[in-house]
Amino acid sequence: MIDLSTELAGIRLANPLVAASGVFGYGEEYARLGDIRWFGAVSVKGTTLEPREGNPPPRVCETPSGMLNSIGLENPGAEVAARKKIPWLRQFGVPIIVNISGNTYEEFSELGAIFSDVEGISALEVNVSCPNVASGGLTFGMDARSSYRATLSVRKTWKGPLIVKLTPNSPDIVSIARAAVEGGADILSLINTLIGMAIDIKTRRPVLGNVTGGLSGPAIKPVALRCVYQVSQAVEVPIIGMGGVSSYRDVLEFIMAGASAVGIGAGLLVDPLLPKKILADLEEYCREEGIATLTGLTGCAWRE
């Protein structure tokens, strides 16, 4: 019997695959495409205090082995998420991670308080790394001190497991990881997208309506792996690794680099059935390699 399950700060995941925030909405679209239970956990769309309609189009642009997006946290706001979206998603029995994004430290605290009153949330994920909103987002995550304060702000009002999602755009992700843990993070997720852009040579203008956007997809996997490899050696908390996962090999690489669970983001946009295929391939890999417990491989690339 092969054990693909994993644990994140006391949260039991049936398998290490996590639907990454931003490609899963609140599950309603995915429920028409595949089985939400294929995931070990799901992270919902970045949710803000007030509803946001998102950025002007074009919002997406393909790049070599990847894509840029500048969706801009289009979401119905915390109240609708708490009252309607999360209760609906509970029916699948899959651990729910609510990704939250605040413009101020106070907003982060308030978001923590709102979701403390909602049943069935396994963890909050503090988004200090969204590159597509003018205020907040990335500005917190670029700096160790503001990452610490943002984490602490949620920690004050949210008593459950707390995830902080890190950006690869800061020059020193390790010191930001340490600051987040010091602020009360129980789990780290990394990486968010890399800031990039594209120019349309016909119009001679940026392609994206927001000018810059977040790069994701296989193109960023080497950067993501490096970040997980470095951060997992520097902190004690478990890590959800992500960035360009599109096959079971990628999942294995992230686990070997130090991740306890692995997010699927842009890959899901291309192949909605990806988690199902990856799970089958992981089982086959474990069988062939004689591996009984997949998470036994966590960090094997750097451990003695």
Partner: protein
């Protein structure tokens, strides 16, 4: 919801594709085999794909997302409307002009190759919900109702049915073919207004003619049909319809480049013509997951709509096109 691991299940029965415990009607991923690839008039190619799970459910103006090659570059699937829907044969058709990386690679497709196709996606045009035009799939409609070759019947239909205007530019003609086909049993008066830059880029309109549609072709350089843009032909049609517009209230469906759609929308804005437009926007998933293909809703309360899940066909009044509003 149903999912089909099409790569291993092509040609199997629907029941075998259904995961237990689901009740929805989601799209299928099918590893479709290419049954033919043809170069056609107008510098386009059409591929016919064997994808029975999709063909059986496809509605005109819906689309599929095609993984052109099973590699990470190009990364995203490519959206294509249906240029043919043959549920009985299990065949769908997609038609494209070579414009970029994806479509260039598609020029290398061969008969017998297989490609991953996800669909059907989007809402299509729910013609049966538009009052005065009850539209049923062709196979369900008795042949004699077409009215073709029966002038008296045709007159009778014309007097009670609304007219349909199909307005297309460039490759925008392709998805209108299955639409016309689906309307044909119940709509006697279908006019196709089609325009392209030159005769070399004109797609073949003869299938519409064979169906009994009135076809008006325009080219910008006058190398075939009327000289000018398709909107000029629309202006003439509007003028000739005159007073009959008010009681006939034609249904118009426009598919083509964004400037054409803007022009058509503005021309028909203050007329009794009910206009639907098929939109394109840079799209990533096509399934509603990413929220990428945003289009501004006319009602500020609705924020952005999404081409993949709210469209791709919209009542023209519900969306703001670039430069409007």
């Amino acid at each position: 919801m149903k999912t089909c691991e099409g790569s291993r299940l092509v040609g199997t029965k629907e029941a075998e594709c259904i995961e237990t415990g689901f009740t929805g009607h989601g799209p299928f991923e099918v590893l479709a085999s290419i049954t033919s690839v043809k170069r056609e008039q107008g510098g386009v190619r059409t591929a016919l794909l064997y994808a029975p799970e999709i063909a059986r459910r496809a509605k005109p103006m819906q689309f599929v997302q095609v993984k052109v090659v099973p590699l990470t570059d190009p990364f995203l699937r490519r959206p294509f409307g249906f240029s043919r829907i043959s549920p009985d044969e299990g065949i769908i058709g997609i038609t494209w002009a070579t414009v970029g990386k994806g479509t260039s690679l598609m020029a290398g497709w061969h008969e017998g190759d297989t490609v991953s196709v996800l669909g059907p996606l989007g809402n299509g045009l729910q013609v049966d919900r538009i009052s005065g035009i009850a539209c049923t799939p062709p196979e369900n409609a008795p042949e004699q109702h077409t009215g073709r070759g029966n002038p008296s019947r045709s007159m009778e239909q014309r007097s009670k049915g609304r007219s349909v205007w199909l307005i297309a530019g460039g490759t925008g003609l392709a998805p209108l073919y299955p639409l016309a086909e689906s309307m044909k049993p119940q709509v006697s008066d279908i006019t196709v207004l089609y325009g392209a830059k030159t005769s070399a880029s004109l797609m073949d309109t003869s299938p519409f003619g064979a169906m009994g549609c009135r076809v008006t072709v325009s080219t910008e350089d006058g190398s075939k049909g009327a000289r000018g843009r398709v909107t000029e032909a629309l202006g003439r049609l509007l003028a000739s319809a005159g007073e009959t517009l008010r009681h006939n209230r034609p249904l118009a469906v426009a598919c083509g480049p964004a400037p054409m759609l803007r022009a058509v929308k503005s021309m028909l804005a203050d007329t009794p013509v009910e206009l639907y437009i098929s939109l394109e926007e840079r799209m990533a998933c096509g399934t509603g997951l990413c929220r990428g293909c945003a289009v501004k809703a006319a009602s500020p309360r609705r924020g952005y709509l999404h081409v993949c899940t709210d469209g791709p066909v919209f009542p023209a009044g519900e969306v703001l096109l670039g430069g409007e509003g």
